[in-house]
């Protein structure tokens, strides 16, 4: 792919979304000598995107925020890609860039809702960078634990996590109250957490 062409044909990555062409000026990418650099960047970014999303998802309150942060950090990484040592670990470098972008993004988020303070967010992100393998194991365990749940409970959990769903409306439809709905969700979430923690511990011990 020619550098610059992705402004009109945004790349689509596994986790969804484009590589953020709408924020990139064409002049930044329109030099033929950028081709190899661009392709190297896209290859590395695509390879590590899921891991990077799990990293960001462990210190941001929602996956909408993760999407937003990924847009910002992908752009920042591309702009700083000249500074990346090709022999170094891309994911470690990407985590550092994303951590700094998260702090900047936090200032925007903090205006209207509960987001972690800067000192807390910084600490969370710093430690999260050391837990990338753990996140992957937990994700596998979650899917396994959900499958092991009775269907009715699984359906309830998945329904509660439907994007845009209003808990109050769900509760009313079910002839229940929001408080009762949240209580049940809390119980099931804790059950899932116990299952995930037990499974990841078992996996670790088996290794």
């Amino acid at each position: 792919m020619k550098a610059g062409s992705w402004i009109r044909e945004p790349l689509v990555f596994a986790a969804g979304g484009s590589l953020y062409g709408d924020r990139m000026s064409k002049s930044e990418l329109n030099h033929p000598e950028d081709d190899a650099r661009y392709e190297a960047f896209v290859r590395l970014f695509a390879h590590h995107e899921a891991e990077l999303r799990r990293f960001a998802g462990s210190f941001l309150p929602s996956w909408g925020d993760v999407d937003e942060l990924m847009q910002r950090s992908a752009l920042a990484m591309w702009r700083k890609f000249d500074q990346f040592d090709q022999g170094a670990s891309f994911i470690k470098w990407a985590c550092v860039v994303t951590r700094f972008e998260a702090l900047a993004y936090r200032r925007k988020m903090a205006r209207d809702r509960h987001v972690f303070r800067e000192d807390v967010l910084e600490l969370m992100a710093e430690e999260a960078a050391e837990e990338l393998n753990q996140r992957s194991a937990e994700q596998d365990a979650l899917e396994s634990c959900l499958l092991a749940m009775p269907e009715k409970q699984r359906k309830f959990v998945m329904l509660a996590y439907t994007p845009g769903v209003k808990i109050k409306e769900l509760a009313e439809e079910a002839g229940s109250t929001s408080a009762a709905f949240y209580m049940r969700l809390k119980r099931l979430r804790r059950q899932l957490m116990q299952c995930v923690e037990a499974k990841t511990l078992q996996t670790k011990e088996a290794q």
Partner: protein, 72 residues
Amino acid sequence: MNEARFEDLPEEEQEWIDAFLNGGIDDDSFAKLQDRMLERPELRTVMRRCLALHGRRSRLRRASPLCSACCS
């Protein structure tokens, strides 16, 4: 895996996490939660796990066969 587990946290911290994940934490509890997070690495570890799984469930709802099998 870090050995910190949700069920080993004090009940108060568990409640704060639940309220945070539900989007219903009050300002006072949120301030206390963050103060505690600065002090306690175990709480930070569990919070990261909770947030990651919380987000993952939302993603699964959109994309997984787990959903087409049970949520249609």
